[in-house]
C-alpha cells in the first residue's frame, strides 16, 4: 500500500511525518538536529531513502546532513561551499558594493535519475552541484558571474537562491529564482544563464520592468508541462507558457496577490495553489482567516479553500518552500506555517487537517510518495 513521508524543516530542527495513503493517522519523528535551523529537507526521486537536509545556525554555520534510510539515521556530509575564483560584489541594502559571502543552503534539488547528484541553492545567491552524494560541492559559477550580478540586491531575508527546477524533458535546462534578482534559466546544464523576467512589473524597483531586480518568491512547474511555469512574486501571481520567455499576471480575483509559496496539483497541470498573505508589511492572512486559494484554470480564476483551516484569529505566515503535493490520487496538498502547524488536505484542497499543531516555525515542507 502506498504511503507518504512529509519532510519538515523548522527553525529548531527537522521532523518526519508519516502516514499510509489515507493520510489521516500520522507518526511524527523528531526533532532531528534539535536547535538548528533546517531550511530544507528533500528526498531523491531516484532513491527515496536518500534524503538531504540543510542544517545551519548563525553560530556554527552550515552543515549538510544525508540519510540513506529514509530519515531514520543521518550522517554529516560535505559543508564546504566555496565560490569559484574571486567572489566579486553585489549591491548591499544601502546600494554599496558588498562581497559575496556564503551564509547557508536554502534549497536542495536532487536529480531525478541519480541519487548522488544534487543541486544546492545558497545565500549569497549561487548554485552548487554535487555528484558524490553531497560529499563535495562545486559551484556553477556562470550564474553568480552573470553581468547583471553586481546589481543584484538582497531581499529582506537575504540574497538567497531559493528555487531550483530541473526540467524533466531537457536534462540541460535548469530554472532558478533569486530574491531579489529574479528568475534565470540555463539551457546548457548551468554553463550559462540568462534572466527570464520579461513581463514582470515590480513597483519597488526604480525601473519597474527591469531585466533583473524582481523579488521572485517561488516558481512551480508540472513535470508533464515543462514550458509552463507559475510564479509567486513578492506581489503578483504570474504565469509563463514559454519556459519563462514572457510572463503574464494571473492574480485574477485573489484577495491579495502577495504571498510566498505556489504549487501545482500532481495530476492536474492547470490546478495551482497559493496562500494569499495580506501584504509585505503584514505577513499574515487577511482578517485572520487562513485560506488556500486554488485555481483550476492555471490562474486568473481562484476559489478559497477553508474547510478545516482556522477562520479567525490566525496570524501565521506560510514561507516559500513550505508547500508541497503528494502523488497519490486524490492528490494531497501540504503546507506548514510559522505558527508550527503542518496541514494536509487529502482531497486536493477540499478539506484540511492539522497533522501537527505546535512545531517550531516551519521553514519548508516536502513530501515523498512511497510505493
Amino acid at each position: 500500500m502506498s504511503s507518504v513521508r512529509v519532510l519538515v524543516g523548522t527553525r529548531k530542527g527537522a521532523f518526519v511525518l508519516q502516514s499510509d495513503a489515507t493520510r489521516d493517522r500520522w507518526s511524527v519523528s523528531g526533532p532531528h538536529f534539535a536547535g538548528w535551523e533546517i531550511y530544507h529537507v528533500k528526498g531523491s526521486p531516484a532513491d527515496p531513502n536518500r534524503i538531504y537536509a540543510s542544517q545551519s545556525s548563525s553560530w556554527f554555520g552550515q552543515i549538510v546532513q544525508r540519510s540513506d534510510d529514509g530519515g531514520i539515521t543521518w550522517t554529516p556530509a560535505g559543508n564546504r561551499f566555496v565560490y569559484e575564483g574571486t567572489p566579486g560584489t553585489h549591491q548591499w541594502y544601502d546600494g554599496t558594493p558588498h562581497p559575496w559571502e556564503f551564509a547557508r543552503v536554502w534549497h536542495f534539488e536532487p536529480a531525478r535519475e541519480d541519487p548522488d547528484v544534487v543541486y544546492a541553492g545558497v545565500e549569497d545567491a549561487a548554485i552548487f552541484k554535487s555528484t558524490d552524494g553531497a560529499s563535495t560541492w562545486q559551484e556553477l559559477p556562470a550564474l553568480r558571474t552573470h553581468p547583471s550580478a553586481p546589481q543584484w540586491q538582497p531581499g529582506a531575508g537575504g540574497m538567497c537562491l531559493h528555487t531550483i527546477i530541473l526540467d524533466p524533458a531537457d536534462p540541460k535546462r535548469i530554472f532558478v529564482a533569486i530574491s531579489a534578482a529574479g528568475a534565470f534559466r540555463s539551457d546548457d546544464g548551468g554553463e550559462s544563464w540568462r534572466p527570464i523576467n520579461r513581463g514582470l512589473k515590480s513597483n519597488a524597483i526604480p525601473q519597474q520592468e527591469a531585466e533583473v531586480g524582481h523579488c521572485v518568491h517561488r516558481l512551480a512547474m508540472h513535470p508533464s508541462n515543462p514550458n509552463v511555469l507559475f510564479m509567486q512574486k513578492h506581489w503578483d501571481v504570474m504565469r509563463s507558457d514559454d519556459a519563462g520567455e514572457t510572463w503574464r499576471e494571473v492574480s485574477g480575483n485573489l484577495p491579495t496577490d502577495f504571498g510566498f509559496p505556489i504549487d501545482v496539483h500532481a495530476h492536474e497541470p492547470q490546478t495551482i495553489y497559493v496562500v494569499p498573505i495580506k501584504s509585505d508589511s503584514e505577513h499574515f492572512p487577511i482578517d485572520g482567516q487562513l485560506r488556500v486559494y486554488r485555481s483550476r484554470t492555471g490562474g486568473d480564476e481562484w476559489e478559497p479553500l477553508t474547510n478545516g483551516l482556522p477562520q479567525k484569529d490566525c496570524y501565521v505566515n506560510v514561507l516559500r518552500d513550505a508547500m508541497a503535493v503528494d502523488g497519490l490520487d486524490p492528490c494531497g496538498i501540504y503546507f506548514g506555517t510559522t505558527g508550527g502547524q503542518v496541514y494536509v488536505s487529502p482531497d486536493s484542497g477540499e478539506t484540511w487537517n492539522a497533522i501537527v499543531h505546535d512545531l517550531p516555525a516551519v521553514l519548508s515542507v516536502e513530501v515523498q510518495t512511497l510505493a
Binding site: S58, W59, F60, G61, Q62, N79, R80, F81
Partner: protein, 98 residues
C-alpha cells in the same frame, strides 16, 4: 594533554561526550589546537572557523583561564595552563537572544 570544551551543539555534531583531549607537538597556539581538533573531528570543519579564511566565526568565542582569547592572533601561544591541561580551552557560542 590539552583539554577542549565544546558547546553542546558541536558535541552533538561530533558525537562526543565531555571534554576533548588533544596531544600537540610543538608550540601550542589557537591555530594548532583547532587544526588538531578538526583533524580528529572533520565534521567540525567550517563550524568554528571559516573554511576558506580560517577566521573565527563571528558568534564563536574562545575563553581560557578566565580570559577572552577570541581576539588573539591565531599563532600566539596559548597560556601555559592550557598547554599543561590545568585549564580547559573553551569554545563558546556567543550569547545572543532576546
Amino acid at each position: 594533554m590539552i583539554r577542549v570544551v565544546l558547546p553542546a551543539h558541536l558535541r552533538a555534531l561530533a558525537r562526543l561526550n565531555g571534554e576533548v583531549h588533544l596531544e600537540l607537538e610543538g608550540q601550542v597556539t589557537q591555530r594548532a589546537l583547532l587544526d588538531a581538533l578538526e583533524s580528529r573531528y572533520p565534521v567540525l570543519r567550517g563550524t568554528i572557523r571559516d573554511h576558506t579564511t580560517q577566521k573565527r566565526r563571528a558568534y564563536v568565542r574562545f575563553f581560557a583561564c578566565e580570559r577572552d582569547l577570541s581576539h588573539e592572533r591565531p599563532d600566539v601561544p596559548l597560556p601555559i595552563e592550557v598547554v599543561n591541561g590545568a585549564e580547559p580551552f573553551l569554545v563558546v557560542g556567543a550569547m545572543a537572544g532576546g
